[in-house]
Symmetry: none
DNA sequence: CATGAATGAGCCTTCATTCAT
DNA sequence: TATGAATGAAGGCTCATTCAT
């Protein structure tokens, strides 16, 4: 344990994570061989075990590490957004997609592996993903307190549903490896759908 | 043909599918051994290969078979719904959850395995899942043509997003094995969110 | 466990034990590969795991099985010995060597592996070996009760020491793969040494 | 030569041997990792390879070194013994046990590893152990020449048997880590058994 | 059709040894 | 000399699949 941790910051550790990300995105956790990760990372097989306890631990560490990074970026960028909660919600949707487009391997990895691992990597509760959802949830609650958002909906439920909607759409884009051309259009549509609903109103022309 | 049909309706084939469903729901595709499926089904290991080409084929067949059944039930029940498209949308959401609650193993299997398998079981395009989405899509389009639903949103995108929202919420319920007590409440909230949007309006009290 | 046991009597199980015995005798437990045992036994690697839980279990089972057989033969042959305890002691020494000569692999295996395994195969107490020592111990005690043997020596200690003497001499013979020519001579010498002691007496000419 | 001597007397070399002894005694040669020896010795893994060619060489060197020391002490103490060969034999038995009690790790190491290594560490003939046996053998021969010991027994065979007896009893004491309380009693019994034999005589009261 | 013992390819992981610092 | 991170060969074991019965 003490040994299988080494420095949390280490160029080699990072290269292994990077290699694992690429490999997992390409072939999925269960279809990726440790030796493939090693060669993707340019290290020997055994080296992986200097930094991670085993293959499961590598998966978990990858989640933790990348989600942490995502959360940090999202938080920072969200704080820079001018305007009210509605603006921030739109920004959230946009950032979610933008991050995915900038990091297609990461997007593919998360959309495809998140569920499996949450369930089958024993004892792993995936706290970082929970943190991600919290950002969304707090945004909803802020809007509810401020009067911009309706208050008859449970913020936890809404954040889940919203995440699911984004995630599923992203999955589609990701698997198709859609070029980021009309992504802004799709972003806009999703924001509108979520904020204004599906029902026809006169104000929608 | 006659032979193939006899096979497709064989009670043993169904028992194997049933066993696989239980096992996959419990432990996931990759963590389930063929021998476990066999013992769940009460048949010998080798028997499975009389009905399915291999483990992958068993997974795919299970998808096809169960999705077919789901689509059938959904279609039937949806046709029985009185009222306009909005009513039908609400009914869709309700039925989606209701089916999941009635078939927890199936729900767990689909929410957790759908993505992985769609991507990694080689050459499998999952046409039945596409059919499922189509139902939703056509409903949206019907509403758009009829004027109940706004027309500035792409029906394919919306149906994806909607499915994603339902699926993610269901995942939560499923993993927690939440009892179906306040599911109607959650169903209602989701319907309202989708139809009317998150924004506060005077008509929501 | 239920699976890793199969029939205690099975020609395949016995062939694996036989192969393991040959391999262990030749190269020792730690230097023998499971695949070598398999090919020595003429089965596939995986087959071994149908009959034994793992490599350790194979070692232990081999001990149990062969010691049981040795004890049985020894007991039978000892009962057939005419005469008093001294005769039986001499017979014991002779039989010990005779069995070793008839089964050189077994002799080599036991003399070389017994100590290691007793200590390092976790939790294994080697009850069958204890049984073997008991035979000797009871013989001593019988002689002590009957007046043929001196009573100022602890029977457990004596049996240990006697076994050690035989075992060490056997080790020598075994490693040298000495032909059984003057083994009767050595047998005789050891018996005399043990029974009459090293000290010079007039009656020894 | 000068260099080799500097190495052979290096305190670091001795610390490594000491660490290896502790580790081998505790877990056996094959279950001890080179890194464990290094940490027992308080040196880096690589340092071991500055003093020893490889793990096998470390084992062999440990034997040579410790046996040399044992032989030296035994010879010295034996020379100080007053009296005839019988006295010396008794002293030998006593010293054998005494050394073991003073150096339990060494005792455990030798009783457990001697056989394995003699056979499986390639090309190693273990000359120092032969020297040890020689001491015993010469003692026997001296007694035979002097008339105290019977001459109808082969001195090599006797010394082997005697060593085996002592070794096996010691193994028992060692594994049980018996406290050295009644060891003198056991020592006495063994001496008597060896010298006078097991048979009952009037002179034993 | 059904069985389940047997197969053997393949993978994760360990650990003795090396070598750049 | 000393270090310890890195290496990569090797082995125990699993499990999907086959096939003789």
């Amino acid at each position: 344990m003490a040994e299988a941790d080494r420095q949390r910051d280490s160029p080699k550790r990072e290269r292994i994570l990077q290699g694992a990300l690429r490999a997992f995105a390409k072939k999925g956790f269960y279809n990726t061989r440790v030796s493939e990760i090693a060669s993707e990372a340019g290290v020997a097989d055994g080296t992986i075990y200097l930094y991670f306890k085993n293959k499961d631990d590598l998966l978990i560490s990858l989640f933790e590490d990348r989600m942490e990074w995502v959360i940090e970026r999202l938080t920072t960028e969200l704080q820079a957004v001018e305007g009210g909660v509605l603006e921030k919600l739109r920004a959230f949707v946009g950032l979610h997609f933008q991050l995915a487009i900038e990091n297609p391997d990461l997007a593919e990895f998360i959309t495809v592996e998140l569920r499996q691992s949450a369930k089958f990597v024993k004892e792993y509760e995936n706290p970082k993903f929970a943190d991600y959802l919290k950002i969304l949830q707090f945004l909803i609650e802020e809007g509810q307190r401020g009067g911009e958002l309706r208050t008859d909906l449970d913020s936890r439920l809404v954040s889940r549903a919203l995440f699911g909607a984004l995630d599923e759409v992203l999955l589609q884009l990701t698997l198709a490896r859609t070029p980021p051309k009309d992504v802004t259009e799709e972003t806009g549509q999703i924001s509108r759908m979520i904020i204004d609903g599906l029902v026809h109103r006169d104000e929608h022309t």
